[in-house]
Amino acid sequence: MNYRELIYEYLDGELDPVIEEKLFAEMSLDQELRDEFSQQVKINNFALQDMTAMQVPSETTAAVFSNLGFTIPPSIATNTPTPFLAFLKSKRFAKASLSLAALILTFISGWWMSSVTNTVQPIDESQNTACIMETSGSANKPTSNSANLLKYTYSSHSIAKHTQMASTDLATTSTNRTNSNSITNNENANNEAISDEIVDTEDIVINDETALKEATQNVTVPQMLSYSSLNGNVADFSFSGNENQVFDLIANNNPDSDFETTLYTRGFRIANELPVADDKSFFSGSSISLMYKLNDEHYIGGDFGEDEFYQEFYYQNGEQNVLYKQAPNYYWGAVSYKYLPHFLRIGNFAQPYTKLSVGGCKAGAIGKAQIGLNFQINKSLNAFIGGEYNTLFFNIRRDFYTSHKFEFLYGISINL
């Protein structure tokens, strides 16, 4: 009996138990056979380790089987991870998919915001055209509820503008809201299209501009859509309920509001500084302003903020005339004037501005001159960057001192 071959069979798990017993009986007597067995066990272990470490590409396996004239056994085909599956499991894929998801989310949110913006059309009040708007419920059956009230609050200002929406806007206005009540147009361009009749319709698309112009010539604004109705039928003025308009309420407050709130902070400053700085609060360097629009180019209002003011002055301290250097944080307030020269407007996205402020903090009076660029994000939201020259006037025992600094600042402004 060739015991060496029996060892191979044993290691492959193919040895008959009876013969296996004989093999081990022989090994107990034969040192050389035990050595051989030990050697083969080691080789077998190494081979197993190598096999587990080695991943044969599925293409290679398929090619081998193909050359041999076989198909790939299902076990091999399913157990061998393909490069694609390996890629799916990799961290790189996870990162890539996350990035892609973020990108898609950004595009969707951008599209959503832009679509929301479009729902509130700019109004050209010079054009005396008829109105079109969506209403829910009816004048006779007010469906006042909290949601509608909320929307009503939002829409109260813009309704009047919708009632005078330009015909061009009407022609492109498309409503896709279910259960919406709308003033309909006549697709065949007759002159009786628009009324305040409540129509339950799924989709109303107004696409015939000429017809619509004609249709809207002699139509008066229905009472239920005018301001006078604000006292009464709340439901008449509510937009149909969806999230877009709630978002409008938050982000798209009122593009034509006369009030503008600005939040801004300082990026860096060019000023004298101290090696020992004051403990700054989180809001140090930040400001808020509320401006009232006098007209398209002129604003007036107030600013409030907290900032660091470097001070350098002499103070008689006993026998010494001591030079003080300090940079305390002060709250400050100022009245401001803002000018947006429209003739300098850069396209539709950038508008230069300048702002002058005069005010004070508890150390003295301050003056600020700001110049920058306003970037329109949407109708009611702007971002801006700018530079500000800032002077603090203060007095020490009737000696007057000034402190100057230049700051780079940036922020956002929202129409209230």
């Binding site: 004051d278 103070y315 026998e319 007095n395 020490i396």
Partner: protein, 226 residues
């Protein structure tokens, strides 16, 4: 336009007048720079500190002055001031001082940080003869009741307690011997090489690392007048 200008001017003036905080009293870190100065020389003989830092009303005069070392005359704000001695971040001694403008001082903290004794001397170094070297002895050893010092420029058997100081005396030789005795036992014999026109302070003090049983060691300080 003139109305607006007047209103703005009124606002500015009003704010200036009613500004409610006097900036010097602002609760904020301040950097104070005096306009008048005195000069002070520090000798660190605080034996249980590795180094000390000297802070004043106007900021640090010297940081990390090692034990047995001394400074030159350092500028320090005159008038009412204070000296604040720190070992690392720990303040272990603070004393108010009043310094005269353009005057020279020597300040010697001695002993241990927890039982500190200090010497502040007004140094009359301006009117010394430039053709001779001058020398003086300041006893900075706070643990010896009496220390006898013998030298050519001193009277015979000059006995000193802690804080005693001799006047600046012109030395007779280029090489001056200064001997220190405790209870008639000579503990140290010091030879000081002097140069004409220079001024020296000899400061005996306690150093636990010294070989003699009294821990007596001596710092020789050449005072350089700025």
């Amino acid at each position: 336009m003139s109305i607006i200008k007047n209103i703005l001017s009124l606002i500015v003036v009003s704010l200036l007048v009613i500004s409610c905080e006097c900036p010097p009293s602002a609760n904020t870190p301040q950097v104070l720079t005096p306009s008048e100065y005195a000069n002070i020389c520090f000798v660190n003989t605080v034996h249980n500190t590795y180094s000390i830092s000297i802070d004043t009303k106007y900021g640090y005069v010297y940081e990390n002055l090692l034990f047995r070392r001394h400074t030159q005359y350092e500028k320090i704000g005159s008038g009412n001031n204070y000296l604040n001695l720190k070992y690392n971040i720990f303040e272990f001694y603070r004393v108010p001082i009043k310094l005269e403008k353009d005057t020279y001082y020597t300040f010697i903290p001695a002993g241990s940080a927890d039982q500190l004794k200090t010497i502040l001397l007004k140094d009359k170094v301006r009117d010394l003869d430039k053709n001779h070297s001058h020398m003086r002895v300041i006893n900075g050893h706070s643990y010896l009741p009496k220390l006898r010092v013998a030298s050519g420029f001193l009277p015979e058997k000059h006995i000193m307690s802690f804080g005693d100081v001799t006047e600046f005396k012109a030395t007779k030789n280029r090489s001056e011997y200064v001997r220190f005795f405790v209870e008639d036992e000579q503990v140290l014999n010091l030879q000081v090489q002097t140069d004409p026109g220079k001024t020296y302070s000899i400061v005996p003090f306690y150093n636990p690392g010294e070989k003699n049983i009294y821990g007596l060691t001596v710092a020789v300080i050449e005072l350089k007048i700025p």
